[in-house]
Amino acid sequence: MFETLRGTPTDGDDGRSSLGLLLLSGVIAAIVTSPLLWLFLRASEVASPERAISLLFSARTAEILINSIGLMAAVTILSVALGVPLAVVTTGTDLPYDRFWTVVAALPLVIPSYIGAFAFVRTFGSGGEVSAALGVPLPAVEGFWGAVVVITLYTYPYVFLSTRAALLSLDMELVEAARSLNVTRIAAYRRVVFPQIRPAIAAGALLVALYAVSDFGTPAFMRVSVFTYEIYVESGSFNVEYAALLSMQLLAVTAVILLIEARVGRDTGSSGGGRTARLRLGRWKWVAMAAIGSIGVVTLVVPVAIFGVWALRGPEGGVPSLAFEWSFALNSVFLATMAAAVACLLAIPVAYHSARSDSRLSRLFERATYVGFAVPGVVIGLALVFFGSNYAPWAYRTVPLLVFAYLVRFLPQVVGTTRSAVLQVDDRLVEAARTLNAGRTETFRKVTLPLILPGIVAGGVLVFLTTMKELPATLMLQPSGVDTLVTIVWAAHETLYYQYAAVPALILVVVSALSMVVLLRQESGLG
């Protein structure tokens, strides 16, 4: 399933530095997956093997497995169905105001899905805010399909963004060439464009799939039994050992997803060029704008409006410690920036080597960094409480350990974008630099790095965004007295003091939206 060796290092210098890079990737992969050892440790302490077996192999477990896989599959398919066409429309057509629509289509990613789910439940349904305002009952968003809709709407931007990046670097003259051979436009896309952007779609879909399987808030809110729910039930009943065991079941599912993606997302060796031709949309542009506009209204305007309603509600005073302070926003931005910066540094060797070397080991290390993304945050958090307390008590409840938790969870986002960027670097450029007697390091610094920088920054922004909205590990490992936007939103929302949730939630969305603009400028090459 992995590519066979494309070439072996020819001289000793390259061989050594390649080995060094491989070792470095291995160390990084080992470090970010090490917290999962805790799962094995706790799972081995299960008191009653009979109960463990009945938990793992009961009819209900089968139902949970089916629900989890169904949820993941449905969300992934719908995200591709939504994200890919939107990427095509915003990059390859004459859509008016394409920048604006690109931002709108990407922005749902910045809304934490638990806020999205809450907004949906409060908005739709017979007693919701919208039906109260309109005076007509609206269908409730709930159950399995409710969860599918909400998770899809807030995660499809992963597919949208990765596909968009691939399309931007695609040579559209290929489409024209195909067209000149009397092939229909759709057939040209299917046979020429699709194979080239397939790895990017798969990379985005992988993040969607792993997110869907690790999300707890939305399925719980929509009342769907999935793996994460069972894990929470057990860890919430003072039965961490069983929670660990169930998490390992989740890991097995994750491993299968990673294998599938490694197959589908195999690099086809495409490399970029300029774009020329653009599809003419004609009257379809209205349809396209209406579609993106509706998504924007549902995913962005509705939650923001809900924040506005919150701000007006509730008693005066109440809980002074929840009153807004700018330090919440600064702490959030600071932590997210730290996490993004360190993630970029760690991702470069892993992504670079796995894209360049073709060794199975290197690909394995790259895949390993994804595992943490699929494990519920509460599990990662507890694992780090254990390792932190036992082996680094001096770092416990400090920023470095919290940032490390973010790395364990979110590193794959920047590994993925960086790897795609490295794959798109034209080998001939690197070879040319080498013939001009540039050393390996110098070539990387002067040729490769500038070319892959947009990919790294794009991944860094994704890490920034997800860190901004991360809740469970933040709550567990937050340093003493350090509150962030999400911890305040959580505390206020949980206690029905909604008015305290409004300002931090709005600032969370605004700051995240600004970072999204940075990401899109990078991708458009306007940096």
Partner: protein, 381 residues
């Protein structure tokens, strides 16, 4: 009443160093300023017993207690609105006393303490569920409280072995929408078992099975009525009544208030909070009679066996159990006091009027049977 223990990681006034810190080297610099580990400093007191006055059932005043100083680390499973104002009031009273408070879900705090070591455990665990304290007791993670504290609190509201004490009380209740419920509060059954088979509740009743107090309620039902009766109650709720299940207590109460649900089984507190915001809200509570449906549970305090400052923790606990601390729970949270000498004042019936069942709260630690029963019968979200 600004929380003076809160601090920003970086500030605008120091923008240059903030930006400069955004790099690998910043991690180390930051670790330095964030301080290593918790607590800090020595226990200011030498004695575990009272520093000045001992606490009594008739409630002493804060004026009679020893002056708190230094920093105390408290993990709280209770939400900030229910406990932060008390922390603030005690901090404001003493110039040199700060609380390093950590808030999270109750069960997460418990799991955290289990994963931690003597180096990192807090001084005090404050929780809304005695089940969590009983679980800590089973693992020998809490220490026996001083004599005066054990003696001051009503035996029904604390651990018979003295390893934890209740701080305030709350009761399971029947929340109902006053506009949708056809009848008066008196028409609501006073027997929890009626709610699982009375046809009037079919399709209009809800609960929240993933909450700690709901599990406590099921544990109590198993304990008092037996596993079979409990299984039938759960089955009746699921099959006969088609009970609506929520994963959030606030969501459930809001749905009752919004008219999407007529009846909800939950804590009296949620409805109280909505009424506090809007006295005309169409939500009210009723109670069952001497059965698990009106289980009395306590929020409580345990001093960790590994506490760095057990003596300071003990004197702090005396503040919680003094008149001012108890008054806070009654006035701010609408809860019940745990000292005989403090009266409940509020809109809800007093405890003697509600008549909750007598129950050893330590039993609430054993939730596994309850969780398995709920799973078997499909009462899961």
């Amino acid at each position: 009443m600004r929380d003076n223990s809160r601090r920003p990681l970086a500030s605008f006034t120091n923008r240059r160093s903030f930006l400069g810190a955004v790099g690998a080297s910043g991690t180390i610099a930051l670790a330095g300023c964030a301080g290593f580990g918790g607590g800090g400093g020595e226990d200011p007191f030498d004695d575990y017993g009272p520093q000045e006055a001992a606490v009594e059932p008739s409630a002493v005043s804060w004026d009679d207690l020893g002056e708190l100083t230094g920093e105390l680390t408290i993990y709280s499973g209770r939400t900030r609105d229910q406990i932060d104002p008390l922390f603030d009031a005690i901090e404001d009273r003493y110039d040199d006393f700060t609380i390093d408070s950590d808030f999270d879900d109750n069960s997460t705090q418990l799991n955290k303490i289990n994963e931690e070591t003597a180096d990192t455990r807090p001084d005090i665990f404050y929780t809304q569920s005695s089940g969590a304290l009983a679980a800590l007791k089973q693992d020998d993670l809490v220490r026996t409280l001083p004599e005066d504290i054990i003696d001051a609190v009503d035996d029904n509201y604390s651990d018979p072995d003295g390893t934890w004490t209740g701080a305030s009380g709350r009761v399971r209740a029947i929340q109902y929408n006053t506009e949708l419920w056809e009848g008066t509060a008196d028409d609501l059954p006073d027997d929890i078992f009626a709610y699982a088979d009375d046809e009037r509740f079919e399709g209009i009743i809800s609960t929240r099975p993933n909450s700690g107090t709901f599990r406590s309620f099921i544990v109590a039902m198993i304990e008092m009525e037996g596993e079979q009766a409990t299984r039938e109650w759960i089955r009746g709720m699921v099959e006969n009544q088609d009970v609506t299940l929520y994963s959030s207590g606030s969501q459930q109460a809001e749905e009752v208030n919004a008219g999407n649900q007529t009846v909800g089984l939950g804590n009296q507190y949620y409805a109280g909070r909505i009424l506090e915001n809007d006295p005309d809200a169409p939500i009210d509570v009723a109670f069952t009679e001497n059965d698990p449906g009106c289980l009395f549970n306590v929020s409580g305090v345990g001093i960790l066996a590994d506490a760095d400052k057990p003596n300071l923790a003990a004197e702090f606990t005396r503040h919680v159990l003094a008149a001012e601390g108890q008054a806070f729970f009654v006035e701010t949270n609408g809860e019940y006091p745990v000292l005989d000498g403090v009266d409940y004042v509020g809109d809800l019936p007093t405890l003697s009027e509600i008549n909750p069942p007598e129950f050893d709260l330590n039993t609430l630690a054993n939730v596994e049977q309850a969780v398995d029963l709920l799973r078997d019968e499909g009462m899961t979200v």
